[in-house]
Subunit: 345 residues, 2 copies
C-alpha cells in the first residue's frame, strides 16, 4: 500500500514539530510490519515564501494537493506578515477549498499530565468544529475606512448543507462513543444562525434516537469547561466558537503542546489535513524547545484516517507512555520525537 502525503511545515515551530510527527509515524509503520509505503511531497508555504514571491498558496497548488491521500501540516502565521494574510492564504484556503467540513479536535487529559485545574476529573471528549463557514468566510467589508464614520461588517455565513455535514458527523461519533452530544451556540442572541443550527440538530437527531442531546450557550460552556469538563462526550459547534472552545479545552487538558486535530473532508472528495491546533509560536521558534507531541498525535489521527488503525494506536500508546513518565527534564523537540519513536520498539 502506498500513501501519498503532502507535507507542509509552514512557519515557526511548524518546521520543528512536523519532522518529529513524521519520524514517529514512519517508525510506527515500520514496526507494525504492514506493507505500507509513504510517499512524501514537500510544499513550501509561509512567511519566507510570501516575502520572496508575494505568494501564499496558489490555485495550482491547491489543485495539486487533491492528488494526495492526506496533508500533514505544521502551522502558519508570522509577525512580519500582515495579520491574516498567511492564515487565510494558506490554512483557511485549504480548509475551504478542500471542503474540510469537520475540524475534529479530541480533548483528553492523559495520565501524568498536569492540568491547570485543581480537580480536572476525567476529561475525554471530542469537539466537532464546523470548518468551512461561519465567521471564517471573510464576508463583509468596511466603508468610510479609517474615518470616524467607519462601519465594518463581518458576516457569518451558515448553510444547512454545511451545518448538517458537521452535525451528522458529530452524531455518528457520539453514537460510537458515550451517546452524549452537546451542541453549543449562542442562539439567544445570534438568532438567525443559532436557529438554523438548532433546527439541523433536531432534524439529524431523529436519525440517532439513542444519542442524548443537550444545548449550551457558548459562554456557559466555557464555565463548565473549567468546572466540570467530565460532562462532555461530543461537542458540536460552529467555526468561531469551536476555535475558542478547543483552545480552552487544550489548556485544561495540559496545554496546546498536546492538542492534535484533523480537518476532515467527510465526503472523501479531497484529502483531509492533519495539524497541531497550536500556531507557529514565533516567540519560541528555532530553538528546538517546542513540544512536538501535538504533531505526533496529529500523525496518529492521519494514520487512523488512512485506515492504519494499528499504527494509530501504537503512536497513541507510545505518546501516553512518554507523557506518563515526563518528569520535568528539559528535552529538545527532536529528543521528544526520538523518545516516543524509541518506545514503538
Amino acid at each position: 500500500m502506498k500513501f501519498s502525503i503532502a507535507v507542509m511545515p509552514g512557519d515557526g515551530i511548524g518546521n520543528e514539530v512536523v519532522p518529529e510527527g513524521l519520524k514517529v509515524l514512519k517508525r510506527a509503520i515500520e514496526v507494525s510490519g504492514e506493507p505500507v509505503e509513504l510517499e512524501l511531497t514537500d510544499y513550501k508555504v509561509g512567511a519566507q515564501r510570501y516575502h520572496e514571491t508575494g505568494e501564499t498558496l496558489t490555485d495550482e497548488e491547491l489543485e495539486s494537493l487533491r492528488k494526495h491521500d492526506a496533508i500533514f501540516f505544521g502551522a502558519c502565521g508570522d509577525p512580519s506578515v500582515p495579520s491574516g494574510v498567511l492564515e487565510r492564504g494558506v490554512i483557511l484556503k485549504m480548509r475551504f477549498g478542500l471542503g474540510h467540513a469537520v475540524n475534529l479536535r479530541p480533548s483528553k487529559l492523559f495520565a501524568g499530565v498536569t492540568s491547570p485545574l485543581a480537580e480536572p476529573g476525567k476529561i475525554d471528549f471530542v469537539v466537532v468544529r464546523e470548518g468551512t463557514e461561519g465567521s471564517y468566510t471573510g464576508s463583509g467589508g468596511s466603508v468610510r475606512t479609517d474615518t470616524p464614520q467607519e462601519v465594518a461588517t463581518e458576516v457569518s455565513v451558515n448553510t444547512w448543507y454545511g451545518v448538517e455535514r458537521a452535525v451528522r458527523d458529530a452524531f455518528a461519533r457520539a453514537q460510537a462513543r458515550n451517546k452524549k452530544l452537546t451542541y453549543v451556540h449562542k442562539h439567544n442572541v445570534m438568532v438567525h444562525a443559532g436557529h438554523l443550527w438548532r433546527r439541523v440538530v433536531e432534524k439529524v437527531g431523529q436519525e440517532f434516537p439513542e444519542v442524548a442531546v443537550n444545548y449550551e450557550h457558548t459562554d456557559a460552556c466555557t464555565i463548565y469547561m473549567v468546572t466540570n469538563p467530565e460532562r462532555y462526550d461530543v461537542i458540536v459547534t460552529d467555526n468561531l466558537f469551536g476555535d475558542i472552545l478547543t483552545d480552552l479545552a487544550a489548556a485544561v487538558t495540559g496545554g496546546i503542546g498536546l492538542a492534535a486535530s484533523g480537518n476532515l473532508n467527510v465526503e472523501g472528495t479531497a484529502p483531509s489535513l492533519f495539524e497541531p491546533i497550536h500556531g507557529s509560536a514565533p516567540d519560541i521558534a528555532g530553538q528546538q524547545i517546542a513540544d512536538p507531541t501535538a504533531s505526533i498525535l496529529s500523525g496518529a489521527l492521519m494514520a487512523s484516517h488512512l485506515g492504519l488503525e494499528t499504527v494509530a494506536k501504537a503512536i497513541e500508546t507510545a505518546v501516553e507512555a512518554d507523557l506518563a513518565e515526563r518528569d520535568g527534564t528539559k528535552r529538545s523537540t527532536a529528543e521528544v520525537g526520538d523518545a516516543i519513536a524509541a518506545r514503538l520498539g
Copy 2:
C-alpha cells in the same frame, strides 16, 4: 440627595437576588450617614408578563426609563419563551436603546474564594466589553429557511464610533490602574472588524502613552485565562468575545455567583444599568438557594457610578469579609443578604 432607581428583577433567580442587592445597598446608605434617599420604581418584565400580554419591554417604558438615575436589573430568559425573545426584547433592548457603550465586568479572586484553578495566583482585572454592536445587533437573516438550501447570515456590525467609546474607556481605566491594556479579537480571521479594532486601539492609544498595549487572539486569551490570569489588568474586546471571556473569567474567580457588571452609558445621556452577569437560572429558581453576591456587588458598582464612593467601598468590604468567612454552611439567598448587611454595622 435623591436618586431615582428603576428596579427590574426579571425572571427566575433575578427575583431572589435583586431584593438582596437592594437590601444591602439601602443599609450601606443608612450606615454611611450620607443624606441620600433612594426612590425605587418597579418595572415588571419577563416570562410571566410576556405570556400574559405578549410584551417584553415597550418603547414607552424604554422612554420612561430615561428619567431614572440608574437601572438595577436581575436577569431574564425562561425556557417557556422562545430563545432570544426576552433576552433581545428586554436586556439587549435597554443596552442598545440607552447606549450602554461599555459593559464593565470586574474579575477579582477574593480571599477565601476557591477557584477551580490549582494555582490561580492574584486575579484582579476588568473587562471592558463593547456593549452596543458586534454580533449582537440582530442583523442578518435566513433564506430558504428550513430547506436543505437554507442560508442564514449573522452580521457583526462594528463602527469606529462604537469601538472608540469602549476603547477610550478601557484606556482611561488602564491609566488609572496598572497601565496595561490587552485588546482581544480574532483579527487574523475576522479581518474587517478586527482591523477596525486595531486601528482604533492604535489611534486612541496615542493619547495614553503610559499605557502598555498588547494584542491577543480570543482563542489564545482563553488559554491564558486558565494558565496565567495574573497577566491581565484591563481587557477590551467586542460584544461577543466579551460575553464569552467574562463568563470564563467569572468561572476562574470562583463562579458566576459572584460576578457583577455595569452597562454604562459613558456619555451620560441615559441611565446606566447594573446587573449580575449570571442569568435567570430557571433550574434553581424559587428555592432561595441562589447566591445574591453578584447582585450585591452590582449594587456597589451602581453606588460608585452615582458618586457614592463610601457606600460602594463599604459594600465591597462587607462582601469581602463575608466571602473570607464562608465555610460551606448552606445559607438561603436572604440569609446571605442579611449577613452582608449586618456586617455594615
